[in-house]
Subunit: 234 residues, 2 copies
DNA sequence: AATTATCTAAACCAAAAGATTGAGAAAAAC
DNA sequence: GTTTTTCTCAATCTTTTGGTTTAGATAATT
């Protein structure tokens, strides 16, 4: 939970000088905020983040020089625990989706009332995600669409369900690129037994070689047995 | 946009008889709603949906008999344009994620005030997505986590960049599970030439067989040159 | 002009993979 | 208690794949 006795440290990144000044003024009006930096340059912004460790980074996503999306990723990959709130002129579904996917904690449209921006900062500072209702809908429609396309990978029946427990174990090792000898060693059975299993797998998956078996597995949601515990059978 | 002159047709599915009665009473209090059905059985619910074509389906996701998630999917696959709002006792991240992924338009906790339920119905009926702030945060944290895991696919250097044009073409066919003979036919070159290319690919990708070459390609963002593929399995 | 990278191809060998048949033992299902 | 499934293993054979070397023909680079 946020510490209300300290001022929130905010950093601004926006390539438009007017916006930058405007937002800075707006935020400075709030006594509980402290603008630790404001820059028009994304790369400079990155070093300011490292230097000042702001609680919130308010960033314009539509910057011509550096790709805003890439900047979000860089910030979150740096390991610094700061919260990125996107400021954007566009309510483009794909843009919202990708920004959130890369770790943005909030997304605010420039056309929105300035009180919304304060709302967003408060919400995100409180550890929550801020997305206006309209953008939430946009996001989910995009999300559900791509989910539907992905699920089309396995439209009909899934032949993987016909595999036995042991066959699943063998297939698991096949998808790791291990050969007969290696599989035999790992499962502590003979190589010929592995061959038998593999041939049975081929028949069930209706393929003719291991490469196609692996491809079938990967494109039909095969779950590696790293999750399921099997009898260890000392 | 919603037609406010007509009553909203709502269908309830909840295996708990008390909840079912309670929610029905609650909604009936609102004059703008019309409860067209209320059932404790998911399968029965599906046929009621086909029969009455409700605007909103309020469904409990925690049903012992039939899997609630599966029911959402069935509803949305049926092609009927109804909006599913999930009623759940749990704010489990994975559950929220999967429900929304399968096409739910709203998610309400049973512990929430009843006014929130009305809010949700109104919002969803208006074509928008309803997710309470807390659940939005839960959802996105789960979403961003899985996105981060996926992006770890290609962390270090990518050996794929060292491949020549022809080698890329060969690898492309390899990732389709095609053997030497098939590749030779498609590229109209001899089988031995294909072998040469494949061996060069192995050296560059530092693998010893085609299965591992394919696995390397798939896990390092290999972009197939042609998206058109016809035969699924040989 | 000389070098380098790429694409092509052959020959040969070794190793691995795949196909088939048969069969015993244990567990699960009926 | 019998039947079925699953897991195990062997032997044999064919096909495919992988490893290596060598080398000609272009095309691009220096």
């Amino acid at each position: 939970m946020r510490d209300f006795t300290k001022k929130l440290r905010v950093l601004l990144i926006d390539d438009n000088a007017n916006h930058l000044r405007g937002i800075k003024e707006l935020i400075s009006l709030e006594t509980s905020y402290n603008v630790v930096g404001a820059t028009r340059n994304a790369n400079l912004g990155l070093s300011l983040i490292k230097k000042y460790r702001p609680d919130i980074v308010l960033m314009d996503i539509n910057m011509p020089e550096k790709d805003g999306l890439q900047t979000i990723q860089t910030i979150n990959k740096s390991g610094i625990s700061t919260n990125v709130v996107i400021l954007s002129g566009y309510d483009d579904s794909d843009l919202i989706y990708r920004a959130m996917k890369l770790g943005a904690r909030g997304y605010v449209l420039k056309t929105m009332a300035s009180s919304k921006l304060i709302d967003a900062i408060e919400t995100v500072a409180d550890g929550k995600i801020y997305l206006p209702s309209v953008l939430t809908t946009r996001f989910f429609e995009y999300f559900q669409n791509s989910a539907r396309e992905e699920s089309n990978i396995a439209p009909g029946e899934n032949l993987l369900t016909t595999l036995t427990g042991r066959e699943n174990e063998v297939l698991d090792l096949l998808t790791q690129g291990i050969n007969y000898k290696g599989i035999a060693q790992q499962l502590i059975i003979s190589e010929t037994t592995v061959k038998t299993h593999v041939n049975n797998i081929f028949q069930k998956l209706q393929v003719g070689d291991r490469t196609n078996a692996v491809l079938y597995a990967l494109t039909h949601g095969f779950k590696p047995s790293s999750m399921q515990a099997e009898k260890t059978a000392a």
